[in-house]
Structure formats: C-alpha cells, structure tokens
C-alpha cells in the first residue's frame, strides 16, 4: 500500500503563543493510504499540530512536502491550492450556517474549484449519499444533529478530492449515541483508501483502524509505533501512564 514517496512530510514544526511553546519541533511522515492517530493529553499540541499542517495556524518554523513538493507558505495562492488537497474535519463541524447540507458540500466546488453548478451538484449529492445523508440535502445546519453535521463536514471535505484528510477530534463534541455514526463513516472513508491523520480519544476505534499511534505531549512527539505496541508495550513511562488511563476510560481492542 505504501508509496516510496511519502504523501506528506512534516519536518521540525514549531509554534509558540507568546511564552508558551505549543509545538517544539514536531516531525511526521505519512504514506499514501495510511492512518496515523495522534494521541496525548489535551493541551499537548494535537490541535495546533493539525492546524499548522494546513497553515490555519502559522507555524514559526517547519517545512512541509506534499507528494514530494515543498509548500512555500509565503505564496498565498500556493497555500490555497495546497489546502484544497488537504481536507480538514473540525471538532465543532464548522458548517456554513447559511447554507443547506447540499450547498455546504457544493460551495467550494463551485467557488474554489470552479466546477459548473451541475457538475458540483452531482458530486455533492454523491458525497452526501456516501455519508448516508442524501435525505437531508436540503436541511440547514440548525436542523441537523451533531452527528449529521459532522457527516456533512466529512462529505464537504471528500468532495474536494483531497490527497489527505486531517481530523481534529471529530467525535469529541458529540453525544455518546451519535459517535458511532461518525466513526462508521470514517471507517468507510478509511477503507476506500484515504490517507488520514486523526487526533482522537476514541482509543478502541483508533487502535482497530490506525497504522500508527503518535503520542504527542507538551509539544513534543514522545513516541510513535503500531497501536498495540504503544498501548501495551510503550517505551516511555509517560506514554504508558497516558495509555493506561485512556484504555481504562475507553477500553481497547487488545486487552
């Protein structure tokens, strides 16, 4: 499955807010079709790391290559192009409130990609169908449940044909009974071969799906490895401590 050229390579990324160093030189490489899961305590830099990857937050230092090509982040147009290839799923869904589900998915196809309205419409309908929301096309965000909103946002990202998707705690804002519908969609997308970097506390789901766990704490990538190794046999005491707490809370598929 893995290509020789990694689809995304991040090298030595740093970010600080005032005196607070949120990322202290994080590096990550991901091959096509892989799923890497960021785990670690809240405030450890997972969100900042994901947002730095598509420059929603401007990192101080760090280089990024997409499919072997370095992204020059001083070029605004290049960044806009790059962002089209990097789908982003947010914890709070961030649907456009004034647009129906269909138009949420369609708008960037028309306004950013320059597709014709008909073509974009077909594509949007197909993506909504893929996340099981064809029947909710004409609902506004205010009329959808949290799980449905998150599925629309996944459809919106998929419609752009991204090379990779970044998922920032996609189920953390959901009621427990809505989590599984979103996880099911992520599972489908994953099995269709999408490359993903996801931060989550759903450790059971993550360990079943992920190729690799990346333990991020205090702005540093402490340890990476296959899920079972990180969960059961981590090298560092801090990783073990975190994993034992989180498996106690959410369970894991190896115990």
């Amino acid at each position: 499955m893995a290509d020789t050229i990694p689809i995304l390579r991040i090298e030595n990324m740093t970010k600080r807010y005032g005196d607070n160093e949120v990322l202290k030189g994080a590096s990550l490489t991901i091959n096509r079709g892989e799923l890497k899961v960021l785990i670690g305590p809240s405030g450890g830099g997972k969100s900042t790391f994901l947002q730095c990857i598509n420059f929603l937050v401007k990192p101080e230092r760090g280089r990024i290559w997409l499919d072997g090509k370095e992204i020059i982040r001083t070029r605004k147009k290049e960044i806009n192009k790059y962002r089209q290839k990097v789908g982003m799923i947010f914890q709070d869904f961030n649907l456009f409130d004034h647009l129906t589900a269909l138009h949420n998915v369609r708008i960037a196809l028309v306004r950013v990609k320059g597709m014709s309205k008909e073509e974009a419409q077909d594509r949007a309908v197909r993506e909504l169908d893929r996340v099981g929301l064809k029947g909710y096309m004409n609902q506004y965000p205010a009329e959808l449940s949290g799980g449905q909103k998150q599925r629309v946002s996944i459809a919106r990202a998929l419609a752009m044909d991204p090379d990779i998707m970044l998922l920032d705690e996609p189920t953390s804002a959901l009621d427990p009974e809505l989590i599984s519908e979103v996880l099911d969609v992520i599972r489908t997308v994953r099995s269709d071969g999408m490359t993903m970097i996801m931060s989550t506390h759903q450790i059971g789901f993550a360990s079943e799906m992920a190729d690799e766990f990346v333990f991020l704490e205090d702005g540093t990538i402490v340890e990476t490895g296959p899920p079972e190794k990180i969960l059961l046999n981590a090298q560092y005491a801090r990783t073990r401590e975190f994993c034992s707490k989180i498996t106690e809370l959410y369970g894991n598929s190896f115990s």
Partner: protein
C-alpha cells in the same frame, strides 16, 4: 383647515415636489450608505492593522461631526479648494458618508458574530480571503446586520430634512416656504411630519419583508 388650505393645488404640488426631492435624496443615500457600510465594516474586521485604523478613523470622524457641519463642509467648504457641488450632490454625499459610518458599525458587529470556525473551515477548503468574505461571511453578516441597518435607514429618512440647510429644497424646505408664506406653521409641519411618518412606515414594512424573505433556519429574527 376650514378653507381646505392643504388641498389647494399650489400647496399640494409644492409638497409633492418636495416629497420627490426627498425620495431622490433618500434612495441613493441609503444605497451608497449601505455599500459604504458593508465595505468599511468588512475592512474593519478583515483588514490589516493599517486598514483597520483607516476604517476606524472614518467612523470616528463621520459619526463624530454633526451632520449639519458635514453638509456645510461639502457645500460651503469644498469651493475653497475649487470643488463646487450642487446642493443635491452635496446632500447625497453628506448623507451617504454619515450613514455609511453608522452602517459600518452594525456590519462590523455582524461580521464578528459569524463564528470563527466557519472562517477556518472556508480557509481549509482553499477559499481566498475575498471569496470567503463574499460567499461565507457576508451572506450571514448581512442577515444579522439587517435590523440595525434598517434602523439607520429609517433614521436617514428623517435626517434627509437637513438638506434644506444647504439649499436643497426637499419636503421640509418646501414646508418651511409654505409655512412662512401662509403663517400656518403648526398645520404645515403636522402635515410634513405625517408624510415622514408614512415614509418611515413604508420603509420599515419593506425592511421587515426583506428580513422575512432572507430568514433561514438558524437565523430567525422573529420568534
């Protein structure tokens, strides 16, 4: 009104003439004022530091100077630097710039009320800043600003009466002429007031219709 003074053709036609001038002042001023308001409001939120300062400075000055003073400057002041405006143009200019300053504050607040997550989502999809404003935040901000901006337009209808201070004879100006010719100040200005009341009522009805038509789930203004 035993002699049906206000039905005399002379009076009726003077009032009608004044009303038409008033409408000709109000409509373009409301349109330009709204456009200025949207642009300045957007710059005040999305501009860089320098642009924000310019936008704030504009609002400070045009909200701070009394409107009459602004009109005097446009009409009596500009000729000193060789620019001669007709009373009508000076009035529309003054009303638009003043109204725009007030509108921009409503618009600015409305832009700020759009959740930042949505601007992040737009950027993440590859929207440029200008497209993000046009297609994502403005349609929402416009809906939220509408009640405030409508209020400002109602207010504009009434302060358009200041145009007669720079010799643009609109409804109030015609009224003043009729009143001083006939010495019927009370009746004349009661009638003038009633005409303004009708204008503001019509405007407010139209604005409510617009609000209602633009209403979406999640953007309800009425409960």
């Amino acid at each position: 009104m035993e002699d049906l003074f206000f039905l005399q053709p002379k009076v009726v036609s003077a009032l009608a003439k004044g009303l038409i001038v008033s409408i000709k002042l109000i409509v373009p001023s409301a349109i330009f004022g709204s456009i200025i308001g949207i642009i300045v409001g957007a710059l005040g939120v999305y501009g860089n530091t320098a642009i924000k300062k310019i936008a704030n400075g504009y609002v400070l000055i045009f909200r701070g100077f009394p409107l009459v003073v602004q009109l005097f400057i446009w009409y009596f002041g500009l000729p000193y630097i060789g620019i001669y405006l007709t009373p009508f143009v000076a009035s529309v200019l003054g009303f638009s710039l003043c109204s725009g300053a007030y509108q921009s504050e409503y618009v600015r607040g409305a832009f700020l009320s759009v959740k930042t997550g949505q601007t992040m989502a737009a950027k993440a999809l590859g929207f440029s800043r200008i497209k993000m404003i046009l297609f994502i935040t403005l349609p929402q901000a416009f809906r939220r600003a509408l009640p405030g901006c409508g209020n400002e337009i109602i207010y504009l209808i009434k302060y358009s009466s200041l145009a007669y201070m720079v010799t643009c004879i609109e409804l109030t100006g015609e009224g003043k002429i009729i009143a001083s010719d006939s010495f019927r100040y009370t009746e004349t200005f009661m009638v003038i007031g009633a005409i303004y009341l009708i204008m503001t009522s019509v405007a407010s009805w139209l604005l409510h219709r617009l609000e209602y038509r633009l209403q979406l789930p999640g953007f309800e203004q009425y409960s």
